[in-house]
Each structure stands twice: as C-alpha cells, then as structure tokens.
C-alpha cells in the first residue's frame, strides 16, 4: 500500500500538504499503519477542476460504458480481498461477518446501478411530437430527458465504512447519473478510503474514463468540507451523518453565490408503535424483535428504533420485563470511534437522570472503556411528559431506546403527531387491529419516508422501491432517497430539446428509439418509435 497516505486527484496520487492524520483502532485505541496527508486548498481546487473537465465528457458517456465502469469498481473492490476486510475491521471495530456482508451490499449496489443505466429508462425520456398544422400556432417537437447535473461532492458516513462511503450509494448513484464524484474521506476510515479509492482509480483507468471522474481527499474537521461545498464547480452535495454536520453543509450550500442542492441524510429516531392487541398476544416476540433491532451494530444505524410507543395497559409490565431480559442477553459492543462512544454515554446518562424518565434497564456488567464498549439501556416516560419535552424526541445514537407509555389511544396519537420528520416509522398490530388504526397510520405516514408493518426499521433493502429519506430533520430534501435505484434522480436534471434534428439528439430521444427504452410518447408510455 505505497499510496496509502495520499489524496487521489483523478488518476494521480498527491501529497502536497504537511499535516498528516492517523487512523485509530476503536478496539484499544492503537494507531494504525499509514500517515494520511490532509489535502491542501490547491489540491481541493485541482480535484474540482478535474471533476468539471471530466464531467464535460463523462455526462455523455453511454449507459453501457457507465455500467461496465460501475461493475469494474465492484470487481476491483472484491479483488482487494482480505486486505480490505481487515483494514475495515481495524478502523471500525465491526465484526468480520458484518463487513463481509457490507462489502456484498456495496458491490451489489454498484451492480444494481450498472443494470439501471445499461437499461436506460431511468432517464425519463418524454416526447411530444410536432403538430405543424395546429391552430392558432404550430406545436413544436419537444423531447426531454434527464442529464447529469455536474460534479458531486460526497461526505461519507461513520457507520457504514463501505456501503455509505467512498464507493457507497451516493458515489454509485452519482457516477450512474453521469456525474464525477469527489469524496471527502471519513477521518475514521482513512485506510479503507485509500483502498477503495485505489480500486475506483484502477477501474476508471482500465475503462478509459476521463481523468477526474473520481477523486478522494483527506481532510481534518470542517475546512476541507467547506472548500469542497463552496467550490464553484461543485453542483450537488451528498452527506450521511449528524444533523449538525448535515445542516452546516446545507447552510454553506444555500449561501453560495450559486446555491446548490444538498442531499443530507441526518438520521432519525424511527418511532415504533406496538398496538395493544398485538403486544398482549406477542409479548416475548415483540421484546426480542425490539431489543435485537436496538442493539444491532451497537445501535449505530440511522434506522435504529429510538422511540417506542405503547399503551400503559395491563400487559405492559410483562413487555418491559421481557425487554429487560432481551437487553440483558446482548453483550456490550465496541462503538465506531471515541467521539461516538463519548457522545452516546454522555447523552444517555443525561437522559436517564431526568425526573420524568424511568431507567428500565442499563447494562451493569463489564464494559471496557478502552474498547469503546457501550452500555445498552432503555428507559420509559409517560406520553404526557414526552409531549411536553421535545428534547426527549431527539436521537441518541447508539444502543438505547425510550418507551413512551401513553395513557390512552388519544395520547398516543398526540405523541406521534408531535414528532418531527423521520426516516421510518413502524407499526405492529394484529390484522384486524391495524385496520382499526388507519388514522394513526395516516399520521405516521405524514412524518416518514418509509412505513413498516410488523417489522423493525433496521435493514434497509437496496431495491427499486426503497425510500430512505423523509421530512426534515431526517433529510434536507424529502423528495429524494439515498438508498435504492431512484437515488440516481438526485444528480440529474431535465433538458428539453425543441425541434432538434434527429442526428443531434441523444440516443435516448432519437425517433427510432435505438436504445429500446421506455418513453412517454405523446402522453403514453411505450417503447415505440416516435
């Protein structure tokens, strides 16, 4: 790994800066191999200029070639083999099975986008043919399709070192759309980033993609991110992380001379509602499902269920007891980095000390601080106190959940209505019981991007129908998703061609439909010529 510490600027490795960063193993906090040069302003500018120049060519690269490039990235990532898996484990503290699974998801995602752009209908071609003899004026021929918006800056997530990172969903969907990508590497995953960047570099070179189609820069704190977001050639930003971080980028982008879209996925508390009929019939099952989801990956998922709504009815003590047993059966796990661990313990402890909050369970056994092990916990609060204290609605990132004990269905509805925007909500009920709660389901739907029935929110399927996004503060733009094939739409904008000669039209819009894609032709979907 001779290039381990350098920034990747197009096809070139660069280390002009003097400052270096080191990666740390969360298990024991030892420094890992590699000195990572932070990028200088000159390097940031060169990456963005290269990205702009690459865009001029890359936006016109046909779907088949982009598909081959995306597949080559997946192949190169797999070719890294155990070198990659080991480095990710060292940098994240996550277990091997999880990392192997996440690599599969990352490569699967790249190949899914490859399939999408190879097929080509994602460009939403719409054709209205001319009516030359229309009165009072002729109707022109207008043909519209989606085209690449320009260079995209990607900020990577701490909690998915592969799938939401250097070659994650944001990068894959931007490259699929025809947009060059400049990644700001996560400070916790510097080596992982370098390995993946090298894989993308090789794929780009082998596929003959324009120099600058991909860059990856190291940087400490806010400065590199600010330079990237403020660069005039940056045309969109994707981010996965905290509300504070995402909002800061959103504000920077809004203040630019030319404002640009920021797609920030900032997490949420993912409320889970257990209807009373279900809970009394399935006490154990509900408790185990909830505990499993809260503690999965040491609670470090943006879809972690951080709020649970139940009625304070006769079966509740049994459920809380079962939940305690389930929580006690989960061993403390290592968190991703010292900041996340510190923040979790601090915020959890603060909450548990509040008068209105009842500590139902907190891990009392061993938890090794030097291994950043988190003490999982859950607490409860009345519906009334929950409604009156909006700070109880906020995310505590880690293995924690808050059970809201509602006095009656109306209080439960009020508590749910008081929530802000969420990535997901889940509702558990017997078949007939769900049908009796359509009003509550409507309220939940109005708050979320994804509504789950009798299931937990963790485990975000990468597919066509996935919506991973929701009203603010879950994301900065609820009209888009960061997971699933429609994520590509974030980085494309429509262009209409009026009375354009057929030989000049892009293949997607030509009369003969040479790509054989679905098009809306005079108002009706078809693959016809026209």
């Amino acid at each position: 790994m001779a290039e381990l510490g350098k920034n990747l600027i197009g096809l070139e490795w660069s280390s002009q800066g003097k400052a270096v960063l080191k990666a740390v193993n969360p298990k024991g906090l030892a420094e890992l191999e590699g000195e990572f040069y932070t990028s200088t302003e000159t390097e940031v500018n060169r990456a963005m200029e290269k990205a702009h120049n690459a865009w001029l060519a890359y936006r016109k690269v046909d779907g088949k070639s982009k598909a081959a490039f995306l597949r080559a990235i997946a192949d190169e990532i797999e070719a890294l083999g155990d070198t990659l898996i080991e480095r990710v484990m060292q940098e994240s503290g996550l277990p091997q099975a999880r990392i192997t699974g996440e690599r599969g998801r990352t490569c699967g995602q790249l190949r899914l986008f490859a399939q999408l752009v190879e097929e080509g209908s994602w460009t939403e071609a719409i054709i209205d043919t001319a009516v030359p003899d229309r009165q009072p004026a002729p109707k022109p021929d207008i043909r519209r399709m989606l085209t690449a918006i320009g260079p995209v800056v990607v900020f990577t997530a701490s909690n998915f070192p592969l799938a939401f990172s250097t070659a994650g969903g944001d990068t894959a969907s931007a490259l699929a759309a025809g947009c060059p990508v400049v990644v700001k590497a996560h400070e916790s995953h510097l080596g992982t980033n370098a390995l993946i960047a090298g894989a993308i570099r090789k794929a780009a070179a082998d596929a003959g993609m324009p120099d600058g189609v991909f860059s990856a820069l190291n940087g400490e704190g806010y400065r590199t991110g600010q330079l990237l977001v403020e660069h005039p050639q940056t045309k969109a930003v994707a981010f996965t992380g905290s509300l504070r971080g995402g909002k800061a980028l959103f504000d920077l982008a809004a203040k630019r001379p030319e404002p640009i879209p920021v797609f920030a996925e900032m997490g949420s508390v993912n409320p889970v509602v257990f209807l009373p009929g279900y809970l009394s019939q399935n006490t154990e099952k509900a408790a185990q499902a909830l505990a499993g989801s809260v503690n999965l990956g040491v609670g470090q998922f943006c879809t972690n269920p951080g709020l649970v709504f139940v009625l304070d009815h006769i079966g509740l003590p049994d459920f809380l007891a079962a939940l305690k047993t389930a929580f006690a059966g989960s061993a403390p796990g290592t968190m991703l980095n010292p900041g996340i661990h510190r923040n979790f313990e601090f915020r959890k402890m603060g909450l548990l000390k509040e008068t209105a909050v009842v500590t139902e369970f907190e891990w009392a056994g061993d938890a090794d601080e030097t291994q950043l092990q988190a003490r999982q916990a859950f607490a409860s609060v009345t519906g009334q106190d929950f409604i009156q204290n909006p700070h109880l609605h906020e995310e505590i990132f880690g293995p924690f959940t808050l059970v809201v004990r509602c006095a009656d269905p109306q209080e439960l509805a009020n508590a749910v209505t008081a929530l802000s925007g969420q990535l997901t909500a889940s509702i558990w009920g017997e078949t007939g019981e769900l049908n009796g709660h359509t009003g509550l389901i409507d309220v939940l739907q109005s708050k979320v991007g994804r509504l789950i029935f009798n299931g937990m929110p963790t485990g975000v399927e990468v597919c066509h129908a996935m919506q991973h996004g929701g009203p603010y503060p879950a994301t900065t733009d609820s009209r888009f998703t960061s997971v699933g094939t429609t994520a590509v739409k974030r980085f494309a904008r429509p262009v209409a061609y009026q009375d354009c000669p057929d030989e000049i039209l892009p293949a997607e819009l030509k009369k003969d439909n040479p790509l054989g894609i679905w098009r809306t032709l005079d108002g009706a979907l078809s693959k016809n010529k026209g």
Copy 2:
C-alpha cells in the same frame, strides 16, 4: 363583485386589516374599482392552519375527484366571461387577444393536470415483491409512491396575470399533487386575483373539497410573503418573478428551523446563436423572427431573447440593418406596471451609455409615458467586451436585446461558456451547419433547461415534455420545471410501505392494481397485478 376587496381564507372571505390597496390601470395610471384589504398576520396564520388541516384530508382525495375539482376550476374561470377579460386588461394593459389566449392556456393547463391525476401513473408507483425464502435474510415487500408534500405557498407573476398566477401552473400542479395552495396575490392584479379566487372557491365548495384547500391573500411588499414562507405549516414555495425576489424567498426558506424547497423561476436572458451559414442565407427571416420575439408582449416574457450571438462576418451589417427595420416596424407597447416600465427605461439607458456598447436602434418616435409605453431598442458589443463585462450578461426585462459580435468561432464559444444558467438557449443553423457545431451545442445544453433549434424561445408549450427551468440563476432548482405536467413532481415526495396489508395500501399500490396505472413491478414497467 361584493367580495372584490377581501382575502379568501378557505371558503370564507375576510377583511380584518385596516390597510387597503388599489389596483391601477397601466394605461393612464387611473385607480381601478375596488379597495383591497391587506391580510393581517392573524389572517395569514388562519390560511396556513386551514391549509394544513385541509391537507390531512386532501392528500388522500382520489385522482378522479381531484380531476373533477381542477376541471370545475377551469369551468368557473370560463364562466366569469367578459368580466374577467376586462378586469385583466385593465390591470395589465395587455390586449384582449392575448388575455383570451392566456385564459385558454390557463384552463387548458388545469384540464391537462386533471387528465394526469385522473390517469394516475404520475405517482411513480414502484413495487418490489417479497422473497420470503431469500438467504441470508428474507426480502420484504416494499411499495413506494409519490404523495403530497403539504401546503404550498404560491407567489404570482406580474407578466402572466392568469397562466402564472392565482390559478396558474403552480396552483394547478400543487392542487394536482394533493397540496392545498395559499396564493399571495400580485399587487398589480388584485381584482383579477379576487375574481379567480372566487372561481376556485365556488369549484371547491361545489366539489366538496376540504375548507382550506385554497386561499388567496392580499399584501403589500415583503411582509405578507415573509409570514407565509416562514409559517411552520408551509411545506413548499413556488415563485415566478425577479432574481432579487426569488432569491429573497429562497434565503428565508433556507433559514427556517425546518428548511423547505423553494421553486423560484427567476427568468433569464435566453441566448440566441445564429450560425453564419444560416444568417447569410436567411438575413431577413432571422431579423424578423428575432424582432418579433424580442418585442412580443412588450418584451415581458421570462423567455425573452435578451442576447444574440453572431460572428462579425461579412453578412452582419445586412442582418443589423434588417433588424433595425424590423424593430422600427414594432410600435411601443404599454408595460405591465410603473415599476417595470421605470426599471426597463433606467437599465436600458444605463447600458446604452456604456463605452463598449453600440446603440444599434432605439425607438425615436412617440412613446406615451402616461401609458407606460416602452421604447424598444437593441445594441451590440464585441465578444471580447462581453466576456470581460459580466454585468452585460444580465437580464433587462422588456423589449431589448444585445447583439454580441464575435470575432471568430472560438470567441463565440468562449462568450457562450461565460454565461450563467438559463431557461433556454436557441441555435439557428443550416442542417449541415448544425452538425458541425456539436461542441457549441453541448456547451449550450449544459447551461439551459430547454435547447431550441431554428426557433425562438418565446411561446412555452404546455405539454408533457416541456422543461421550463434551468441552472441557477434561471431557477433555484434545475431538477424541476414550472411548466408542463412534470411540474407536479415539485410538490410530491415518495413514501415506501413495507409489508403493508393490502387493505391498508393506497389504491395505487394494491396488489390488484385497481387504478390500472403503470407501475415498476420488480424492476419492469407494467400494468400487471403484483
């Protein structure tokens, strides 16, 4: 017109305020009938609260009922007959034929959106069916569709008192999406707004739509707009007007505790390129087409061609001479309001005084100031001076255009490359000639929402394929359009249902596909059950 001066808040007319506005006839500046009460903060809040409550019901109204409502609005507008036409003429100074045509466009637009939502495929249903036995984990059933984003605030345009106004494209597309609308009436069209608001009110009441699905408020200056954009129940903003106005709303929306999308269409200079072969063969035709487009509607279109790029070649003097003749044949027309007239004359005069600018033509005959008549003009500048003076790239709203005389094709390419985002660009060339300029066409495409071949940008077709929008500063979000059926996408966001019982699913997503709409089913478009 007993209710002429009041604010419409849902189904109720309201006049709590003390301040009144008067409408003025641009032809002679006489005050028109009616005292219009400006809305108070209480009235603004009531309109937004009603809109929110209406949204809870209206977002679930089926497509057929929404279609009937939209068609009823069109019918009620037509039923206003000459009363409407006369008031619009009095308030805008526009001729009868134009207003009658614009009414046709407005009603046609409402009916086109009715057709869209009645058919139903606009909701982009995507279904990935379950694979219960998938390894290592079962694949859930996920079904996604677009749903209404929430109450939309619409700021109306000065230059289209009907088609981009109270019942214009923004209102029609928001109502089609399932979003209640609160209109801020334009100060120049207070009576027109009241008449149209009354028509929508009657249509809403007759169709049994929820109270609050539509409101229209009067207000002076910035204050009412600010209250509307900052109201917590406002979920999106649509605006057509100046860069200054649109950017101010964008900034307000970005600073909210919950930022919301603003779709501001802020106009552009709409560059027109005449390639030399075409120009030398069609000197007269080109001059007449350009003069016709520049002077159409007294130059008051957001697609007005404000910049013309030509090579400084042997045929140019003939073209400029023909253009002078064509401009001289157009009589000065009345502008929309005193502010627009004052601004046009001031900015035009400022430009014509600049050293680098050659005044090629300015109307020297009579022009009645009391009738707000504009003196049409055009000027020229060298390509080099144009590139070096970015302020020459800015829009002068009215009957004016600037011819950029480029020394050679490279300078022309550089001049076009220096442009910021535009709604449109047009290129005129002989068939073979266009094929020889694909590089230039690529540059133009990268700047615009619509690229026109051998045609002028004025005359925006309302159809499925229209893209009326473009990179900033043409609009605040190039990924959307304000004209054409896809305008509905601005006001909808996707929601995914995971493992939802069929009886609870919206009709669009039910297994049997009862609406018979196009859906992406396991990756392929079809109308199949699934």
